[in-house]
């Protein structure tokens, strides 16, 4: 089945199986920044934005993106580079596997929440799991980044 959508600003048409999930479609089309980890909508590594809303691409059927905009970290390159500086400042980077999903979630947070409290920030990123760093360094990095971007 053919599905057409806008990937990071460029139109794309792909041929997919009826039950194919977006994470597989993206990875089959060389968008390897989208990680497939738990594959059961629990870890947040596969987060992407569909029509400006962050979703879990491991549980989102590709058929549903017909005519919609899909944003992966390649579409926010400059922002992600900048964010990574804040992460390294706090020593919040290790293997980097979860960073792409987290960067997209932070992108969504910035769009949705004006002047978020510490609690708001934590609630927004709570389901983006990281198995290396513990969360305090990440939290401080995100907080500093949001503060600088005000």
């Amino acid at each position: 089945m053919k599905v057409s959508f806008i990937l990071n600003g460029k139109p794309l048409t792909v041929d997919v199986a009826p039950g194919e999930y977006l994470v597989d479609t993206l990875r089959n089309n060389h968008v390897l920044s989208v990680k497939k980890a738990c594959n059961e909508s629990s870890c947040g590594a596969c987060s992407v934005l569909v029509d400006d809303k962050v979703i879990l691409s491991c549980s989102y059927l590709t058929q549903r993106v017909e005519g919609k905009k899909v944003l992966t970290v390649e579409g926010i390159q400059k922002e992600a580079d900048e964010l990574s500086d804040y992460f390294s400042d706090q020593g919040a980077d290790q293997c980097g596997f979860c960073n792409t999903g987290l960067a997209l979630t932070i992108h969504a947070l910035r769009k949705e929440l004006k002047n978020p409290t510490d609690e708001d920030i934590k609630n927004f990123v709570v389901a983006n799991l990281c198995r290396c760093t513990g969360y305090q360094a990440q939290f401080l990095a995100i907080k500093n980044y949001l503060e600088a971007k005000k």
């Binding site: 089945m1 199986a17 009826p18 039950g19 999930y21 059961e40 909508s41 629990s42 947040g44 987060s47 809303k53 962050v54 979703i55 879990l56 549980s59 989102y60 059927l61 058929q63 549903r64 979630t105 969504a108 609630n123 927004f124 990123v125 709570v126 389901a127 983006n128």
Partner: protein, 264 residues
């Protein structure tokens, strides 16, 4: 999940006809639990384009389309004002924002999941369910039905109430399934109490509520007695996450605290 055919109907009739064609045809709402629970389907019937994603103000009632996402509900002013934001208290603790941008209220209700954090508050809000082609029933009656659903849940209707409310989800990690959840609603000092994930599906503690609602004066002793009655009238069991005894202790403690809070 193996899917032989995918169908995105434009009308409810089309979706319903497809559903009746084979017992292996399945409705798709948010699809989050479906993926984890269903190895294969014949035709996956996607309800995404039926316009069922609206929250409507119907005067004394709020009418919620079954495909409304949990995130939509969480941010909606009508829902925030309903019974002191009871639904928001419960929903905001379900996994993360990305999950709640896909998960729908209809999928959560129709699945009758025993671990649901949504059924428990909806029970104390006395939610009514509307099905296609033609059926209406209370959530409570629906939870007592057995077997596969052969109609399509289209709306959840809730009376606008402005009393106090309590919700407690006991969990091991922030984004975990509940070990147990408790919801209490109050209006004019009358309460409804529901307990979910016992680990069986949510149910009302009717005898406990009756004791409180018939009391001439609400005392600490009444709240204590009601919490004891609730754990006697509802069935609790052990599972990998918690023992029956622990669940009963949690239920008793949080029902007591919840009653004190909403009846203060």
């Amino acid at each position: 999940m193996e899917v032989a055919h995918y169908l995105k109907p434009k009308t409810l009739k089309e979706a319903y006809d497809a559903l009746l064609q084979s017992p292996r045809n399945v409705l798709l709402a948010g699809g989050l639990w479906l993926k984890r629970s269903t190895p294969s389907v014949e035709t996956l019937i996607d309800l995404d384009e039926l316009g069922l994603d609206k929250i409507e103000d119907e005067g004394d009632y709020v009418k919620i389309g079954a495909m409304t996402t949990l995130r939509q509900l969480e941010l909606d002013p009508l829902i925030k004002n309903l019974q002191e934001g009871l639904i928001v208290k419960a929903i905001s603790q379900i996994v993360g924002v990305a999950f709640r941008n896909s998960a729908t209220i209809g999928g959560s209700v129709a699945g009758r999941y025993s671990f649901s954090d949504i059924l428990t508050p909806l029970l104390v809000l006395d939610a009514k369910l509307v099905f296609y082609p033609k059926e209406e029933m209370s959530l409570q009656d629906f939870l007592n039905l057995k077997g596969k659903l052969n109609s399509i849940l289209t709306h959840i209707v809730i009376k606008k109430t402005r009393g106090l409310s309590f919700f407690k989800k006991v969990k091991i990690t922030a984004i975990d399934f509940p070990i147990l959840n408790v919801a209490i609603s109050e209006e004019n000092k009358k309460v409804k109490i529901a307990v979910g994930s016992r680990p069986a599906v949510s149910a009302l503690a009717q005898r406990a509520a009756k004791l409180v609602n018939n009391a001439s004066e609400i005392t600490d002793a009444i709240c204590k007695e009601a919490s004891q009655i609730a754990v006697e009238e509802l069935i609790f069991n052990s599972s990998v996450t918690a023992s029956e005894e622990y669940r009963k202790l949690l239920a008793k403690t949080y029902i007591y605290r919840g009653l004190k809070e909403v009846l203060k």
